[in-house]
């Protein structure tokens, strides 16, 4: 009986989605997208229009979004906090090759992540992608040195200060440009296709990259090591 209900519900869902899809299919850009595509370059002097939308036009959305990520990571850390009953496998020492390779590769991986989020206004990529790359470097460290804990103080300070920097950049836009996260009158817009251009956008995307990177690194550490301590005690 339950199987039949499931099949009927899923078939209805599939048919509805397939029937509704052409309604949303536009013949050209919508009004909002048209405005962004025409004014994005002049307003922000950045080559990547998606970055203009994410950081500038809908920057408030992005601020809420990194907050959601922060809340879910804190939620996971809270759920996995120390308590009896959590079974954790005894950490096995990583091999020499992994440890040496991790020492060698960690700095280039973090440098690459930084490159991605600093160039977010010019090329595909930005804070989220760069932050994920930085977090994958931290994952390599976690896999190689299972007995060395991460510097939690450093990570949480980076996370808090970059969140604060994001809000400060938004308030600077309110003060100088007249609206929250406005990209006017704070930093010079510069010339198109230069690293130091697009006003406040690379600064904000750097903050987003640091914030996302430290949040994802904390998340990986929490998932791997939470409640490890009671096993060792």
């Amino acid at each position: 009986m339950k199987q039949i209900v499931a099949v009927v519900a899923l078939a209805t869902l599939a048919i509805l989605l397939w029937q509704l899809a052409p309604i949303a299919m536009p013949s050209g850009l919508g009004v909002v997208a048209q405005h962004y595509a025409e004014h994005g370059v002049q307003d922000n002097r950045g080559a990547n229009l998606v970055t203009s939308v994410v950081v500038n036009y809908r920057g408030f959305d992005t601020l809420g979004e990194v907050t959601v990520l922060f809340l879910s990571v804190s939620g996971a850390a809270f759920v996995l906090r120390r308590r009896t009953g959590l079974e954790v496998h005894e950490p096995r020492r990583a091999s020499e090759i992994v440890r040496t390779g991790a020492r060698l590769l960690f700095a280039p991986i973090v440098l690459f992540g930084t490159y991605i989020f600093v160039h977010g206004h010019l090329t595909p990529g930005g804070g989220f992608q760069g932050g994920a790359v930085v977090a994958s470097g931290v994952l390599l460290l976690l896999l190689a040195n299972k007995d060395h804990p991460l510097p939690h103080g450093f990570l949480s300070w980076t996370e808090s200060l970059s969140g604060l920097g994001f809000v400060a950049a938004g308030l600077a836009g309110l003060w100088a440009g007249g609206s929250f996260l406005a990209n006017r009158g704070i930093l010079p817009l510069g010339t198109w296709n230069q690293l130091f251009s697009a006003g406040v956008i690379p600064v904000i995307y750097t903050f987003v990259g640091l914030k996302v990177g430290s949040e994802l690194a904390t998340l990986l550490d929490v998932m791997m090591h939470a409640a490890d301590e009671e096993v060792h005690q």
């Binding site: 025409e38 990520l69 595909p124």
Partner: protein, 127 residues
């Protein structure tokens, strides 16, 4: 509809349905979370494929003459796909990983409490 994106829309709908099949019919908690994650990927693919316009390029301006004046900007706007759904999906993917991590944390905690991943064993809040 002959817009050229039927293949992508169909794949996205297929992913959503397969994800919900896992949620509705599997009894293993990890499989249920995996189903949500697959459905999430399908929704993202659906949104991006609806914002896609055939024959247009990515919304990145690569030609300096494209913003010399208003007319050139209008020409550029006719060359690119819709950047808004892409920006939306960019944040949705990151939120997806946060939500998945929270669900997995609950799965690990439930396994520690109940010693099983079978969803039928966790019926204490059922009425």
């Amino acid at each position: 509809m002959m817009a050229g994106n039927e293949l992508y829309v169909g794949t996205a709908i297929g992913l959503i349905v397969i994800g919900f099949v896992a949620v509705l019919t599997r009894r293993n908690l990890l499989k249920i979370v995996l189903g949500f994650s697959i459905a999430d990927t399908g929704v993202n693919l659906l949104i991006v494929s609806l914002g896609w316009l055939p024959g247009r390029t990515a919304p990145i301006v690569d030609d300096p003459s494209m913003f010399s004046d208003r007319a050139a900007l209008a020409v550029n706007a006719a060359r690119v796909v819709d950047p808004v759904p892409q920006a939306l999906v960019l944040t949705a993917i990151v939120i997806g990983v946060g939500v998945t991590a929270l669900m997995l944390a609950y799965v690990i905690r439930l396994y520690a409490v109940g010693g099983t991943l079978d969803v039928r064993q966790f019926g204490r809040l059922k009425w």
